[in-house]
């Protein structure tokens, strides 16, 4: 039920940023917050957050995902975020990750999840609530016009459908990032093309523009946000949101076995596993398996730093 083999080093890592001072913890990071980081409750909360994020990522896209379930999970994530913000753990995590070296290559898709929170965190505010943007993903036909008989016309405001043949990338990213793009603009003239093969990189609507402004200019483009679950080539500054997402992953929670054997049942997977399964699905959006492996090593390295071993 709860992460197995919760190791103490995770709790140590919670204290180190405050103690070692490599990143001056803000005065507002009281020992209470640090305690919160280390308590069983926060570990449970963390694992719940991990689980929820994975559930959202693993929407099976052959059939449209269950909207009710997605909304409930998203609300749960939002609730956890808010609570973590209130007791300061969110800030601490963000800063701890900022202190750590981040890899030049990283998983991009999950950054979409935190793009709003990242922006807010950088601004020093509480993260915006997690939004269920991606839920719209499956529901493209915003305007259904019923005319005549059963053979009705369906006018759609657009958007790249997620093809089930596209094994990996776009649909995983799509579960998060598609929101504004799918925005229910009945006035839209279909700015996005339907393109089975393209992973949504071109699908940037006006709604998305607004959101881009919120993002730190250097960290990502709409393309990255909405697009591909792929290993990016070096992007300049560290991405706190991304790092913070990895901090969510307590390596002890996931067996090495599961990491190496690919897709297991949902709760046992971490980003590592998703990566594995993607690479096994074929080359579509991934650069190469070998780069995945090296990235895994990078990630391991990062995790080592974070957990301070």
């Amino acid at each position: 039920m709860f992460p197995k083999g919760t190791k103490r080093k995770f709790s140590d890592s919670g204290e180190e940023p405050a103690v070692s001072g490599d990143e001056p913890a803000p005065a507002a990071a009281p020992s209470a917050a640090v305690r919160a980081l280390t308590s069983a409750y926060s570990l449970q909360r963390q694992s719940l957050l991990d689980m929820s994020l994975i559930k959202l990522q693993l929407c099976h896209m052959l059939v449209e995902p269950n909207l009710c379930r997605s909304v409930l999970i998203a609300n749960t994530v939002r609730q956890i975020q808010e609570e973590m913000t209130q007791d300061g753990t969110w800030q601490i995590m963000t800063q701890a990750l900022a202190a750590a070296q981040c890899p030049t290559d990283r998983l991009v898709a999950t950054e979409v999840l935190c793009r709003q929170t990242d922006a807010a965190a950088q601004a020093g505010q509480s993260p915006k609530p997690f939004s269920v943007v991606g839920l719209e993903e499956g529901y493209h036909a915003e305007e259904v016009v019923m005319e005549g008989d059963v053979e009705t016309e369906v006018t759609m405001s657009t958007l790249s459908p997620v093809s089930p043949q596209l094994s990996s990338a776009s649909y995983l990213a799509g579960t998060f990032g598609m929101g504004p793009c799918w925005e229910e603009d009945e006035d839209d003239d279909g700015e996005c093309e339907e393109d089975e093969e393209e992973d949504s990189e071109e699908c940037v609507s006006e709604g998305e523009e607004g959101d881009r402004d919120h993002l730190s200019a250097d960290s990502r483009t709409g393309e990255q946000v909405f697009g591909t679950f792929e290993i990016k080539h070096p992007a300049p500054p560290p991405d706190p949101a991304l790092e913070e997402l990895f901090s969510d992953v307590d390596p002890s929670y996931y067996d090495l076995d599961t990491v190496l054997t690919g897709m297991q049942s949902a709760p046992k997977m971490g980003p590592y596993d998703l990566l594995e399964s993607l690479s096994s699905h074929g080359p579509t959006a991934l650069s190469s398996s070998s780069s995945c492996r090296s990235d895994l090593n990078e990630l391991d390295h990062i995790m080592e730093i974070i957990v301070g071993s």
Binding site: L48, I80, V132, V150, T152, G179, W182, A266
Partner: protein, 445 residues
């Protein structure tokens, strides 16, 4: 009514003689519904099929038994479809079946999958015409020049044939997945509800429907609540209710406005702050809402309980029944394996004195509203031989497990009873356990 050795003497019924019908080997039953007379029982399954059972007359040899239910008709209601625009499959699984009141010899029902509702006519044919002039008995055309005399065709009896034909197809009105359909008391209209919208249809008109509820936010990023169930009031054709994923019920009056986004009544029980957890919202999500036959009450099912509401009191339910409270400490595991999202249904008996709902391990629960007693029974082949009496079951929650009790950890969460139905007049119930249908009835003395 025989009392068995168990002391719980609840709902007067289901001391259970039963018959087991139709192992639907491949397909999971997804909906069960009696018609208005209780004579017919319809089931829908994951493969898009509808199977209708008919109540046979009591046999003279066994007067203490009610008649059995036998297969009356089987047809393929929905086929899997592929939405080419979205590159997504549309499942053929039948989400709901609702009967229309019978007006002539034929029977009509509505069946729906995620996107399309169909009106089916089920009719019997037990006679055929013989003695045509222009064709002979084989159907071959006769040469007109060979006909020397005329005859009048006569109707001859034939083996009963039950035919199902689709009479109306109500399509393309729902962007999201249809979760409910409900026939109005005017018998002319019905509503269909998906995650974000509710439409009102006329049974004769398939090319348009009225949208009466729309909770889709302008910005989908702000979506935090969806519609989970909807039902028309059994007596007042202008009233309907819909439930949400946040545990609220809204009652709407269609006379008030064309778009019923503003509710007339809002039912919500204040949350108990002491039991708050990260799962509070999820377990408060209402999976089913049913009006009582009287129209005075409604019942809602959330993950752990069933609540009866008086329509005149919005701030709390009048009755709350715990279905499986022992699961409260297991919510994290149930979240992990997705069981926390299971949508259980609930139903009233004909007199509104008892209610029933399903649980895990093929258990189902019945509550007598008058005596406040409850009983847990199991629908499985092992525990119920034909015409045997059902034995009450108990889940042990404490440390000590008594004999015959089952511990919470050994419950099988894959065996869930989501769909149950109660005969509108008699003490006969239908329980769907994955791909098996069980019909239980009480003994008559």
């Amino acid at each position: 009514m025989t009392k068995k050795s168990h002391t719980v003497n609840v709902p007067d019924l289901v001391s259970g003689i039963h018959s087991v019908f139709c192992p639907f080997s491949a397909d999971i039953i997804s909906t069960v519904e009696f018609n208005y007379s209780g004579d017919l029982l319809a089931t829908g399954d994951k493969g898009g099929r509808v199977v209708i059972f008919q109540h046979e007359q009591e046999s003279k040899n066994r007067p203490q038994l009610r008649g059995e239910y036998n297969v009356y008709s089987t047809f393929q209601s929905h086929e899997p479809e592929f939405d080419y625009l979205k590159s997504l499959e549309i499942e053929e699984k039948i989400n709901k079946i609702r009967w229309l009141p019978q007006q002539n010899a034929a029977h009509f029902l509505l069946s729906t999958n995620d996107k399309t509702i169909k009106l089916w006519k089920i009719s019997e044919r037990d006679k055929r015409a013989e003695g045509y002039n222009l064709k002979d008995e084989d159907g071959r055309l006769r040469d007109p020049f060979r006909i020397t005399s005329l005859r009048v065709p006569v109707l001859m009896p034939m083996d009963l044939m039950v035919e199902a034909s689709p009479r109306r197809i109500f399509a393309n009105a729902h962007t999201y997945h249809i979760n409910s359909i409900s026939v109005n008391s005017d018998h002319e209209t019905y509503l269909s509800a998906d995650d974000l919208r509710i439409n009102l249809w006329h049974l004769e008109i398939t090319d348009r429907s009225f949208n009466i509820v729309d909770i889709k936010p302008a910005n989908m990023e702000e979506l935090t609540e969806v519609i989970t169930a909807a039902e028309c009031h059994p007596l007042q054709c202008n009233v309907f209710v819909y439930s949400s994923s946040k545990g609220t019920i809204r009652l709407c009056d269609m006379r008030a406005a064309a778009l019923c986004d503003r509710h007339s009544k809002f039912f919500e029980e204040p949350e108990d702050p002491s039991s708050r957890s990260f799962f509070s919202e999820i377990i408060s999500s209402i999976s089913d809402v049913k009006f009582s036959h009287s129209g005075r009450y409604m019942m809602t099912r959330d993950y752990l309980s069933v609540k009866v509401w008086d329509l005149n009191m919005e701030n709390r339910p009048v009755e709350t029944y715990q279905v499986h409270e022992y699961l409260r400490s297991k919510l994290c595991s149930l979240y992990e394996n997705d069981c926390i999202f299971d949508k259980f249904e609930c139903c009233w008996n004909g007199s509104d004195s008892a209610i029933m709902t399903g649980s895990y391990n093929n258990f189902f629960r019945m509550f007598d509203r008058n005596t406040r007693r409850d009983i847990t029974l199991e629908a499985s082949r092992e525990s119920s031989k034909p015409r045997a009496t059902l034995k009450p079951r108990k889940v042990s929650t404490g440390g000590k497990r008594k004999k015959d009790e089952i511990s919470v950890d050994s419950l099988d969460f894959n065996k869930k009873i989501l769909h149950t139905a109660w005969h509108p007049k008699d003490n006969v119930i239908a329980v769907a356990a994955t791909n098996n249908l069980y019909i239980f009835q009480d003994k008559i003395n």
